[in-house]
């Protein structure tokens, strides 16, 4: 399974990303997780996300800052709308929706992101 994670560098630092990827590594299943750092989640656009799917991603996870916590005020809101547009486009293409997930990082830490990754893997396995 191939997962791409786009994340806002203001809500996740390199150590947190290493922890997330490391905790989810499962060599037996040949899972691949690719991470892409963004200066703000608002930098992401439809093409970034579509290219990830074109290059073979089964699922894409976009991690944004929490509500009202975006350093650039509305980058996380824009990112969420763009992710929704990609999800709609994927359904139009025939890949089904739900492959594009957005997580607004809460103050609790990275547990919700690792949990989301687990859920994505579980859903993917069930669909296979």
């Amino acid at each position: 399974m191939n997962i791409h994670i786009f994340y806002c560098a203001n809500c996740l630092d390199a150590n947190a990303v290493r922890t997330i990827v490391g905790s989810d590594r499962d060599d037996q299943n040949n899972d691949t997780i690719k991470t892409v750092s963004l200066p703000c989640s608002g930098k992401v656009n439809l093409l970034y996300l579509l290219k990830a799917f074109e290059k073979g991603a089964d699922n894409v996870l976009l991690v944004t800052c929490g509500q009202d916590e975006c350093k650039f005020l509305e980058g996380n809101l824009r990112a969420k709308k763009r992710a929704q547009a990609v999800d709609t486009l994927l359904e139009e293409i025939g890949l089904g929706n739900g492959r594009m997930k957005v997580i607004q990082k809460s103050k609790e830490g990275i547990e919700q992101i690792t949990a989301a990754l687990e859920q994505i893997k579980k859903d993917f396995t069930q669909k296979q």
């Binding site: 656009n45 579509l50 074109e54 486009l89 139009e92 293409i93 025939g94």
Partner: protein, 222 residues
Amino acid sequence: MIVAERKTIPELVDILEGNKKILILGCGTCVTVCLAGGEREVSIISSALRIASKPRGLDFEIEELTIERQCDNVFIETAAEAIERNDVVLSLGCGAGVQAIAERFLDKPVYAGLNTAFIGILEERGLWTEKCGACGECVLSQYGGICPITRCAKHMLNGPCGGSREDRCEVRPDRPCAWQLIYQRLKGIGQLDRLKNIAPPKNWEPSLGGGCRVIVREDHRI
């Protein structure tokens, strides 16, 4: 500007099925501004088509190009080589652009990737509204710059119809009543007297009824 929106990906796949080498040709003018057929949309649609073609075994080979203006032969020339080396062209220009390309390259299938919708403006971010019906005989000067043909759902030249609720159109409650806007505008510029004139039936001859319209400027021809 001309406002258009993209056809759905399944529609585009149906149109392109059976072809291998495809040029997706964007236009850098109106359809770029309305986020339907500019350079970025060319990339997005190309990517979506590549993804969609794989499970169907079509494996499109897509080339991307955007020219300044598809409705002008000077700019079409810059795409000539790319058009020649591909089997078909999927034009993301307006209807005029698609036809201009098709007329220039007689042996090349040219398909429309967009539905050309109307002449309008960007009202706010991500929202375009129709402002002009290109009727061929403009009446804007009589109505304070607000077109009753386009913006009134009933195209009334002698309004209002009486069906509006507050300032909302009864046909489209999400839109303002055009005649309310005309009244406010004429009041604002001190020309309410214009509403006392009864407009005669409009001459529709310069409109689409007579077939393809042509304008000739002899002073620009040799």
